[in-house]
Symmetry: C2
């Protein structure tokens, strides 16, 4: 393998490949990036066995190709070296004793390489009929649900986001059993096979960092034990969590004793300030109590002090509510609703609180109350 | 005490006062900010007994003063509350049972206060003839010397920066006994008393964050056991380290076997890249060897690989040098020299390396070599 490439082009793609590596891996080859120079161009791949990333630099983006081949080299070192080289042409060449020789006009590095045959097969394959989604829409899904997934390994299925495809609707659900976030997306293509998988939130977050904010599409290829995403020059694989995701459809009521509308900024600001006088040990509990077209949000830490916030509410009937909840959970849920107005729905002080945007059921946030009264 | 003030004015000054607090303090009153509302305006002060900060809001910046007085309240809470309040008028009032009542149109907080009499006397006093220095110049002094101070408590005097005033020259020195940074500043006023004090680097760094980049002046009032800085609306006190700072004047030679000039960016880039293949355990050792008008910078980690960097040098004679040093120390020293060209001076492979800018002895950087040859 021997070729010459611009520093900034190689760095851009190393920036992608480095995300497939977790430096703590005990198998050295899993800390490596594989370079494969073919007739078509240069493939860079990496994997930690949980996710895999492969990126492609087309032949015409490579200044000069002298000979094809493949090498496997420490991801951390090749990345740091290319990052610190000046923005000029870099020569990369495999030399004897499987070493990689990296040179520019004034710099020359020699890096020991790993055995290319030890690098795992990435098992990248593609289904005939992948889901096609806008990258920005996919990022929104992650933003609106991911935070609600569990961080405790007690129930592994809850550490992921559930993607359920049924009748061309993709429903994404995350819950830590104290709160629940559901987002529904109608799929543009009508021939998508039904599926029901759980993707680890950690892996989804890595994918998130690779996506951009353009309206460009991505492909999602679902298999029994993995999902493969394709977008731009990138392919990413993530393992799925095995197990059955709990049926959460019964948790969201069809009827409510009281529905009210609040202003996004006013409500968020009040909860945010009230949360200053709460603490983790006490589940960040704050109280919410309506009286006519006003709601009082209050909390206290006895040794520090107390707070009372007033907001205006528009209710659909004369019922009043007096309820307590975790302020951090409430702020997460509000943030996930991109709307000037928010609907809050109640069925009494011991029943779940529902948050959504008016006239739209695409996103539903549910929070269990805390019993204090 | 009862007054009304704009949120952004109060926040600006709480931003200063909060820096005087270290939240880990076991004495609750040292985690507090003292509010003193006098005829002249509002003083906010804080101290952790190592440093003290006092800031002043003039009467005409306060919307309305109803009654004077003083209270002592948790710094963390008052700061977070004011930060999260909307940019509008805030009312602050001392209410019965020494509580502070903070209200805006829709928010009301009550904070328990500490006993004002327990708040320590800040011992702020001023000398008749303080040193007057440009704030930007003072920041440069810290940038050019602070990094060389020791982080080990073995010899406490080395954890500070030595300020020595003699014949209207202020010489600032820091050393961890492996490297040394010296900066000389000529004082504008000619009647400054001689002094020799050591200021803890940690305290100097807090001061650094409070200074701005304007050409505004600051006053430095030196006492036997403390230094007091005055600038803008702020007064800051720092304790000094007791003990005698080592005499470092003999360490910098008057004659050199070899002096060479290198380009700042070229030299820094080469050292930075070569340092990629060094490690802490091996003191980040890199080698430097001249041959005519070229120098080779090299290093290696046997299991990873090696690197060789070439730079051009302009020497004052035909002597050659072959020397090794800590690459991190070298990068710190280069960074401290604000100059397109750098002079490197050598007296053989076991003698200190000196770095300075050409035609200027205001800043001198010294690094001890590592014996490897």
């Amino acid at each position: 393998m021997k070729f010459t490439i611009n520093q900034n082009i190689l760095l851009e793609h190393l920036n992608y490949a480095i995300r497939g590596i977790s430096n703590k891996n005990l198998r050295p080859v899993l800390n490596c990036i594989k370079f494969e120079l073919t007739e078509e161009g240069l493939h860079l791949s990496s994997t930690d066995n949980e996710i895999a990333i492969k990126t492609f630099i087309e032949k015409n983006e490579i200044q000069k190709i002298d000979s094809l081949g493949e090498i496997v080299v420490s991801g951390k070192y090749i990345y740091e070296i290319v990052k610190k080289l000046p923005d000029e042409l870099i020569n990369l060449e495999e030399v004897i004793d499987s070493k990689l020789y990296i040179t520019t006009e004034n710099s020359s590095f020699t890096l020991n390489c790993n055995n290319a045959t030890e690098f795992p097969d990435l098992e990248l394959e593609y289904s005939k009929n992948p889901i096609i989604l806008n990258q920005k829409v996919f990022k929104t899904i992650i933003n609106q649900t991911g935070f609600a997934a569990s961080v405790s390994e007690t129930r592994p299925v809850l550490t992921g986001i559930n993607f359920k495809i049924e009748d061309n609707i993709m429903q994404c659900t995350a819950t830590d059993s104290y709160r629940l976030a559901v987002k529904k997306v109608e799929l543009p293509d009508e021939n998508i096979e039904n599926a029901n998988i759980i993707i680890p939130t950690r892996n989804i977050n890595e994918l998130y960092k690779l996506l951009n904010d353009d309206e460009e599409n991505m492909e999602m290829h679902i298999f029994a034990n993995k999902v493969i995403y394709k977008f731009g020059s990138l392919t990413m694989l993530t393992r799925v969590i095995s197990g059955t995701y709990p049926d959460t459809s019964k948790l969201i009521p069809n009827e409510y004793e009281l529905t009210m509308t609040v202003n996004f900024n006013e409500f968020f600001g009040a909860i945010d300030r009230a949360s200053l006088l709460t603490n983790e040990a006490d589940k960040n509990t704050i109280k919410f109590q309506t009286s006519g077209n006003q709601a009082i949000i209050s909390s206290n830490i006895p040794e520090i002090g107390n707070v009372e916030e007033k907001i205006s509410v528009t209710k659909d009937n004369d019922n009043e509510i007096k309820i307590a909840f975790n302020s951090k959970f409430m702020m997460d849920s509000i943030r996930a609703l991109e709307s000037e107005e928010i609907e809050l729905k109640f069925n009494g002080e011991i029943k779940p609180i529902i948050l959504k945007t008016p006239d739209n059921d695409d996103v539903i946030q549910l929070i269990l109350p805390i019993r204090t009264y």
